[in-house]
């Protein structure tokens, strides 16, 4: 059978398109997996902070037991963080925790003997380190989401994204202006 040259050219082009689609699809998979990995990194750091908070509350309670409201706030915020299931819930919990911790440290400021104890100093130090790591891992998570969005939203890759079911993901953003400052651990 005589397949003209146009037929071969069309087959060739078709082949290249299929190849491009496969490569693009795989790239999307890689970027999406990177986001999941980045999120689990954020989660590791957040869990670390949740583990530190009860110790901190206990130490402060030892000196300022009557500041009940502050302790409740912190505990509630921590629970919200642990219960959060989506990125947005987690971001909202972040705000609560930052504010509550700020208040807790403000309370502790009034008790010099508390500040002098080794326990408190150590917790303060570890908390500061964790805050820093949360910031870094959050940055990497957001960078990963950006890279992923750049791919799935661009044309013509968005066709592959649509067919493959790749949906946009949420950024881990700070929602309230008040919570933009870091937890100040200055004494």
């Amino acid at each position: 059978m005589d397949m003209g040259i146009t037929a071969w050219v069309l087959i060739g082009i078709g082949g290249l398109i299929v190849l491009w689609a496969i490569v693009t699809y795989n790239r999307m998979i890689v970027l999406r997996n990177r986001i999941d990995n980045a999120w689990s990194q954020v989660d590791v750091q957040l869990r670390r902070r949740y583990d530190l908070i009860p110790n901190l509350v206990e130490v402060v309670k030892g000196y300022a037991a009557h500041e009940r409201q502050t302790f409740e706030e912190v505990t509630k915020a921590r629970q919200a963080g642990i219960d959060a299931r989506t990125v947005q819930d987690q971001a909202a919990a972040e705000n609560m925790i930052s504010q509550a911790l700020r208040r807790l440290f403000a309370v502790a400021e009034a008790y010099p003997q508390l500040r002098a104890t080794e326990n408190f100093a150590q917790l303060q130090e570890e908390l500061a380190g964790t805050e820093s790591k949360i910031a870094y891992s959050r940055q990497f998570y957001n960078d990963s989401v950006l890279g992923y969005h750049n791919l799935i939203q661009a044309f013509p890759a968005r066709i592959v994204a649509g067919m493959g079911g790749f949906r946009p993901r949420d950024y881990f953003e700070i929602t309230e202006a008040e919570a933009r400052g870091p937890v100040q651990v200055q004494f």
Binding site: G129, S132, F140
Partner: protein, 293 residues
């Protein structure tokens, strides 16, 4: 920042393509001028690869021992350790091994064939003389070298240079013994042969120029990637200024490892920085690009 990174990557790949074309050209010239023909490229490349292999594979161990770097644990150097750890989280890279060099000259380097086998070393002088933001800038630059697989790239480039040098050398020997292919085929006229000859003689120089150009591009890329990691280009900019102003010589530096450091410890203070044979771009330009981000 992102634009700089993209354009730097493009430029270094273009340079690699240029290199491959150079080798193709040499192969062709070889074919014209000697009996060995085009296929001489294959043994030349094979030898160059064999010679470079162990230095690539063990690059981390070799360079670290040459520089008298001592492993630093979290207990010994918590400040440095935490900085490296934080940045590796920001970069999404596994944490490299951390080393310290007891020298008062401030400098740093990174090595390792891939992020899983990487190491970062800083001098005591760097820790003492830079503030936190500047240290972060320097460490981020070094970690960018790891993340961008620069060691692998530069090894590839070294193999290409080695291939070119070998071919050029064999050509020279071939000529000396007068084993030139006769132009009985009627194709290779005198001019073409002459051009091929000149090309072969100049090729090692061209190859080295390309290598230095690639090295400079990767330094700019590491500056830009590092700035992206810290989101604070001023940190690295002010660190670079401090590093250049400090005239303390780095005792463990030598020609083999000089190109790995963040500023070239051998040439930077002698005003040679502006030549085509520099491994690092001129400092003023690095700082200008960082401040323009």
């Amino acid at each position: 920042m992102f634009d700089q990174i993209a354009s730097n990557r493009r430029r270094s790949y273009l340079l690699i393509v240029l290199f491959v074309l150079l080798i193709a050209g040499i192969g062709y010239a070889f074919g014209l001028l000697t009996e060995l023909g085009y296929y001489a490229v294959i043994p030349a490349a094979a030898i160059a690869i064999a010679v470079s292999w162990s230095s690539y594979y063990y690059s981390d161990r070799i360079v670290l021992s040459m520089s008298k770097a001592r492993p630093a644990s979290r207990q010994q150097e918590p400040y440095l350790w935490n900085t490296v750890e934080g940045l590796s989280i920001a970069a999404g890279l596994p944490m490299p091994r951390v080393y310290i060099i007891e020298d008062s000259a401030p400098n740093a380097f990174a090595t390792g064939r891939d992020p899983q086998h990487a190491a970062v070393a800083v001098t005591r002088g760097l820790l003492d003389k830079l503030n936190r933001l500047e240290l972060e800038g320097v460490v981020a630059h070094e970690m960018s070298h790891i993340g961008n697989y620069d060691i692998r790239l530069m090894t590839l480039v070294t193999v290409l240079v080695g291939t070119v040098v070998l071919l050029s050398d064999w050509m020279a020997r071939g000529l000396r013994y007068g084993r030139r292919r006769s132009s009985g085929k009627g194709g290779a006229g005198g001019i073409v042969v002459l051009v091929a000859l000149v090309f072969l003689i100049l090729s090692p120089v061209i190859a080295r120029l390309i290598r230095f150009a690639i090295s400079r591009q990767r330094e700019f890329l590491a500056d830009a990637s590092g700035a992206l990691m810290t989101r604070y280009p001023e940190g690295l900019a002010s660190a670079l200024e401090k590093l250049v102003a400090d005239t303390d010589p780095l005792e463990v530096a030598n020609k083999a490892t000089a190109h790995l450091y963040i500023i070239n410890p051998l040439t930077e203070h002698k005003g040679w920085t502006n030549t085509l044979f520099s491994t690092h771009p001129p400092l003023a330009e690095r700082v200008a690009r960082l401040r323009a981000m």
